[in-house]
Symmetry: C2
Subunit: 388 residues, 2 copies
């Protein structure tokens, strides 16, 4: 392992009716002037919005300002709007109610509220936040793990650029995870969430550090459990038992325990961010397409770890030759993702080679991306072309 520091201050409040049980007390610990951030309004259809207001209104002198309509790929302009609302109304707490996009947007707002310049500086790493407005979340979709980490992904549409940043100051103070709040997530979004959480495991599993057996086995545990439970959930979207497993798996997939002491990859995510910055496709869909192609590409030089995954997660025969094992493993991922309804080619989203130059350019922030295998522009182009 490499040397590391790990701290995760987020309080997880997990289970049935936890909004009713815990929200009022948690929020009033931090403030009374709340920015309520949410997305397209699905929380108004399933009753969660009303429940949240009811609990918030139990706080003495509470004042609630709303930022609605956060986009699936949350936009810089929306973040800036949230920051303005906080400054104009002197708010002291942010409550994000939604999936990863809503939470990511709220995180950028929370550090932007304490920063005088353009918050995009923080997103692209030009400025480093040193404090933030406290943030709590109510999660409504199992996918990004944003509820228990400091990550945030923001899209700047003016520049067709989608970028991720992370800070200790953007960890939520608390996150309320009631699996019931994911019952209304439709089939396609549920599938994308499953692919997303599995991809997070893979990005960390393909690290380049030595001797991290427990981190790897934890990753395999998440993958194996997800592969067992996901098909059952997709047959019964109202199953509390299956929703809760996927929800906790998604949290563990990116609460950074898999990253302890290892240098992780993340090239596939950078390529997907580039594709969806140019074409606005669902993140989970993009990952289901790109990850098998990435695995194929890196297996040409480094098949061992892909093969290990196959043995431990798909119970493939360990005596098979390594290159063949790697191929079989990738085939298993393809088949599994296809079986749950994920797309397999970029052309499924109508993407052709026209904007491939821009997608390649947007993938590469510096000279290369990825650590497991370092990819330059030509490598990225080959992977994207194979994925068309």
């Amino acid at each position: 392992m490499d040397n590391f520091q790990y701290v995760n201050p987020t309080k997880l409040i997990f289970g049935k009716d936890q909004v009713k049980n815990a929200l009022t007390k948690e929020v009033e610990y931090y403030g009374t002037r709340v920015l309520l951030v949410y997305g397209s309004g699905s929380i108004k259809k399933n009753g969660l919005y009303e429940e949240v207001l009811k609990q918030l209104n139990q706080i003495n002198n509470v004042q609630i300002v709303e930022l609605a309509g956060v986009e699936p790929n949350p936009r810089l302009s929306t973040v800036q709007k949230g920051i303005r609302l906080i400054k104009e109304n002197q708010l002291d707490f942010i409550l994000a109610v939604g999936g990863g996009s809503v939470i990511d947007c709220a995180k950028a707002i929370s550090v932007g509220a304490h920063y005088d310049g353009n918050v995009w500086d923080i997103v692209i790493g030009k400025a480093t936040p040193s404090s933030s407005l406290p943030l709590g979340t109510i999660l409504t979709m199992a996918a990004t793990g944003s509820e228990m980490n400091g990550n945030s992904v923001i899209t700047n549409w003016d520049e067709k650029d989608k970028r991720a940043f992370s800070s200790i100051h953007t960890y939520p103070k608390f996150s309320i995870l009631d699996p019931q709040n994911t019952f209304s997530v439709p089939m396609d979004q549920t599938v994308y969430g499953i692919v997303d959480l599995m991809s997070h495991v893979l990005e960390q599993y393909f690290h380049i550090s030595e001797n991290a057996p427990i981190q790897e086995r934890f990753g395999e545990s998440i993958l194996k459990t997800t592969i067992e439970v996901a098909p059952k959930l997709l047959n019964d979207l109202q199953s509390y038992a299956h929703r809760e497993v996927i929800m906790l798996n998604a949290t563990f997939a990116l609460n950074k325990i898999l990253t302890m002491g290892v240098k992780t990859d993340w090239a596939s995510h950078m390529m997907e961010h580039a594709v969806s910055a140019v074409h606005d496709i669902p993140h989970g869909g993009g990952l289901a397409i790109l990850f098998p192609h990435w695995m194929e590409y890196v297996s040409e030089t480094k098949p061992e770890k892909v093969a290990q995954l196959g043995i431990r997660v798909f119970d493939l025969d360990a005596t098979t030759e390594t290159t063949k094992l790697a191929k079989e493993t990738i085939q298993q991922f393809r088949e599994f993702w296809k079986s749950i309804g994920a797309p397999t080619r970029l052309s499924d989203y109508g993407i052709d080679s026209k904007e491939i130059d821009l997608m390649v350019e947007r993938s590469i922030v510096n000279e290369t991306i990825g650590n497991y295998v370092s990819l330059a522009k030509d490598d990225v182009r080959q992977i994207l072309e194979r994925a068309l």
Copy 2:
């Protein structure tokens, strides 16, 4: 799963030379008047004591008061001595340098320093702490997981009673884990640490809640990795690579992620605490003796989960009949622990049936112990008698 809340505020600082890299900065964030708590003085032999003093002395106006000689089963009288030292010298920070015993002692001191009555009230749950003096740790032995949880076990020799308590206020602010600091842990203590961490996994694995597949697979991951690495470590006690895996495994075994959403057992620990309160034997040794007997006893009515362990951790044949599988699993644990040099019978420590009444009585705090199978006095007596 059951509803749960999880928060773990401890900052883990893991890796080579992290005392030198991080200690000064971490301590001076909290204070300058330090109670330095340590054990029998092994840290004076391996150079760690000198290194710690060197780093602490870089803090402006630092004042260091020492509490040396904390016992392997830390005593209430030592805790009380530490509390007196803090009050007399108006100290503002506690630094524990040692294994679980030293850290547990420091935790009791940290809450006792903010409590006017007898700290034993807190240990036995008669009083609940609401604050504490901040505490940091430098871990020198992989075993108890005390470096990343709120647990503390204290022995009251006047009453021959050994009791555990836990509080959010006793989580260390930081814990520095440099595997090099465990190089000098001798063979027998290394073995006890391995048994202890495995037992922690088992206590949580044998829960009585439904539908916790990821928690169970994480537990199996820790067991499997430990079983793979432990024999290699015992062949080469100076191996950084093997020490680091066991060290991180021990932390994960009891940083409570395995306890999320499940009602755990802990009967074997309560029996062991009773045995070692009466006879002062090593905790890990007691567990290696008692746990297989506990598994045998509960398998008479509930063999399924023991069998599951055998399939997933020892790769036993899943088609074998469940009762037989459970027996084979227990045999595997016995053989593994015996192979690494752990004791198998209480008589290995010269314990006979003479004080069995007292051990039974001390095991049972209320009417029964354990959740997986609820054990009354007669059950405990049978298990202890079989273990003689």
